[in-house]
Amino acid sequence: MKVRAFSHALMAPIVAFVALLGLLAATTLYAYAPGMPLKPVAALIVAGAKISIIALVFMRLRHASALTRLAAIAGLVWLVLLFGLGWIDYASRLAI
């Protein structure tokens, strides 16, 4: 591996780690700030951003093969089905 490509490969996880720490600080500060709106939603959006960074950079989905990406997307689809169908069940129940 050439030196430039090697240092680039090492830089990616380090930059991702710094970004993850920044997001951790941001979500914590927002949660503790009094009177801020939509705190649970903001916390989940930041968690989604952190998970995307981990999946794309640390787990290398960004440069993965089509087969690997398909496995990851299939997992996401099944999770959406689990939450979607489960939530429809609760949302459509009538009070007794």
């Binding site: 780690f17 916390a43 093969s65 099944w78």
Partner: protein, 207 residues
């Protein structure tokens, strides 16, 4: 990577690499559904008891939660670097990164144990002597113990896999790149689960 050992039933290294990676992703997908069911239960009781859950969640030790999140992210970064160092044929660098990831994972468990000790001292185990009496608090703390307990078991398994990697390192790390990659993928997944647990356990009911 050239020089990686070829195992049965693979006929060439490229197919072996792809097979290992695909198999690991399928396993992680099944794990995601297992944890997904847990997260869904949280969503339901959070929807049913929003105020009680927020009050119960404010009892968690946020300082340890934040510290443990940073530690696990650092550990994930270390093994990601280790994987890349190994691909650059730096076996020593990869071994050091694996040691670092292992040490940070162990530090996570030590902090978690301290937190559990504090939680038990505050009677936050749902049961006869539970400190909080509401239904929402019972559900939240029941979820807390199950979710963090199952996650901690995954951390222990991850640490076992790191120890195995360090054992392999003595025999020839460069021949087992697939093992390093599979372990790294598993560890990043453990990190992802914690990243989801952190806001719903430690940031609810603050400020």
């Amino acid at each position: 990577m050239n020089g990686a050992a070829l195992h049965k039933p693979w006929s060439d290294p490229a197919r072996q690499r792809e097979g290992y990676r695909f198999g690991m992703w399928l396993f992680l997908t099944s794990e995601a559904l297992f944890f997904g069911a847990l997260f869904f239960t949280y969503l339901i009781f959070r929807y049913l008891y929003p105020v009680e859950v927020a009050r119960a969640a404010a009892e968690t030790n946020a300082f340890i939660g934040i510290a443990n999140t940073a530690i696990l992210l650092a550990s994930s970064c270390a093994i990601a670097l280790g994987e890349r160092l190994l691909e650059a044929r730096s076996a020593k660098g990869a071994a050091f990164a694996t040691w670092l990831a292992l040490s940070l994972g162990a530090a996570f468990l030590v902090l978690k144990a301290l937190e559990y000790h504090e939680d038990l001292a505050k009677h936050l185990w749902p049961g006869a002597s539970f400190a909080l009496s509401t239904s929402g608090a019972n559900l939240f703390w029941g979820f807390y113990w199950v979710a963090t307990g199952v996650h901690a078991i995954h951390v222990v398994i991850g640490l076992g896999l790191f120890v195995r990697l360090l054992h392999i390192e003595r025999e020839g790390f460069h021949l087992r790149v697939a093992s390093v990659r599979a372990t790294a993928l598993y560890w990043h997944f453990v990190d992802i689960i914690w990243v989801m647990l952190f806001p719903i356990l430690y940031l609810v009911g603050r400020g």
